[in-house]
Symmetry: C2
Subunit: 327 residues, 2 copies
Amino acid sequence: MQTVDYVIGIDIGGTNTSFGFVDRNGTILCEATLPTQADQPAQILVSRLCDAIRDSGTTLTQQATLSGVGIGAPNANYYRGTVENAPNLDWGASVNLVDLFRKRFNLPVAITNDANAAAIGELLFGGARGMKHAIVVTLGTGLGSGIIVNGELLYGADGFAGELGHTVVDPAGRHCACGKRGCLETYVSAPGLCRTVCELLAQRREPSPLRETCFNHLTSKLIYEAACAGDGIALEAFDSTGRILGMKLADAVAHTSPEAIFISGGLAAAGDLLIAPTRRYLEEFLFSTYKGKVTLLMSQLPEGSGAILGAAALAWCEADKFSSTPA
Amino acid sequence: MQTVDYVIGIDIGGTNTSFGFVDRNGTILCEATLPTQADQPAQILVSRLCDAIRDSGTTLTQQATLSGVGIGAPNANYYRGTVENAPNLDWGASVNLVDLFRKRFNLPVAITNDANAAAIGELLFGGARGMKHAIVVTLGTGLGSGIIVNGELLYGADGFAGELGHTVVDPAGRHCACGKRGCLETYVSAPGLCRTVCELLAQRREPSPLRETCFNHLTSKLIYEAACAGDGIALEAFDSTGRILGMKLADAVAHTSPEAIFISGGLAAAGDLLIAPTRRYLEEFLFSTYKGKVTLLMSQLPEGSGAILGAAALAWCEADKFSSTPA
């Protein structure tokens, strides 16, 4: 019987938590999902997860050696191993998830936020394989980002580097949930796209099916469908979103000079409606030194598995550090 | 007789070129300056420099071992060893200065741009000593920057990472020499300060001694003196400059999450007139995660020697890489 080395990648969200057994090539041997029950203490989730992981392990057809555990979670701090003040998890100011898992697994365990996990996933298993410098942007309810520098994820002094969603587009602009104004994610995210449509509906006079939907029922999916049907307001909303994203990505390039930028997450499913204008404006806003040098791509990770693969990639990185540390 | 290890740090500017013999602690054993003669080929400068360096070497009172040569120059590329399209040096598209020096010195030779050299200088000999993550901003005719990540200067994919001067403040803003509009350095630099004063003179009605000076004769020194004398326009120009710098530094923090940011260069001589508002606005614009964590400081390198010390720090870094590379 063949033996396979694997890690467990865990993706914790406000509603569901998924995990998968992932080998060195990024193949998911098996995966499962359970409800997070975010109103319960973190200890309960860890306990339920460990049971589910044990059950899944028995279904493996190959003999398998577990090398580590990686976790992607909102508001996670890699240095401290904690989830801190996560708005959609009722876990309080700080829970040390790494400690909770280490009590169950005598193995390397690491945690980072979702966008950082996506970036490590892209680096190990996706389009950034072999790259030294890249940026991964995740577009969903917010805008997350992970920055690869010298072939490693950049954590910075406090473990929270790479928060491009809260760079400023307009200091007098839209109110952001973070308390600031004009943050990038108030324009470039699923809700940001809806706000832009709302603004355009106010500014313009042309008819649009989107005038029939109230603000609370607007979704990026509706806007996508309207754009596909040729609606001018929806098309302009995507163009405007791409312009702002392109402009701020040009700023990001002037910081770390990546080879490539990858776009992932729910809103990236809009494909060329968003990617094409973003690419065009990025090139337009790039400082001359960087022009023609930076590739903008969709994430090359399989849709839907990105989060588990990201957490698994983190686990592999930690496992390798662990095994190369002198005793 | 005591032996001392030293490197040569060379700072090439459009008008003058300075060099110094610098030991491991950042002590300058001796230094000298010669005219660059920027209209002559680079070979001539290298030849004159080598003669001057030889002459200076004979004045050393200690027995000395030379470990390497570091060069700071405008538009220099660390990876390629070149100076490329430097606007104030008549050297054409590309000159490989590292090759030219290696023909004279059988030693590690490295080159980088002025702002990167300033950052390495701050890291080895200045206020960033012992820091893993920092940013150095040089304010003069332009705005240069060098980013320290994981204890090393960040070069990025193409060797030109850290061009914060060309991040965008306002896409419809001031025309920049680079061809773009609204770049940070059109607001935050010595000429940027003059442009801001000019704008304020147009907007406001109050009297100001600066109304007696034509645009071409405005200097940051005049504005500094007016501000020290209590002139409202000059004071507001510094405040506005600090606001824009603080806002964009908050963006920079959201990229690499540094412990500290250092401000150096001619305009930094304005001291608290510029640093105090920059510090206040930086804190105001910081994403909540970073608030209270980032220190803004003046460069801790001795005024006037920063460029030579930066180039020397680069030389020490290369010498150490060289000596730690397995044969």
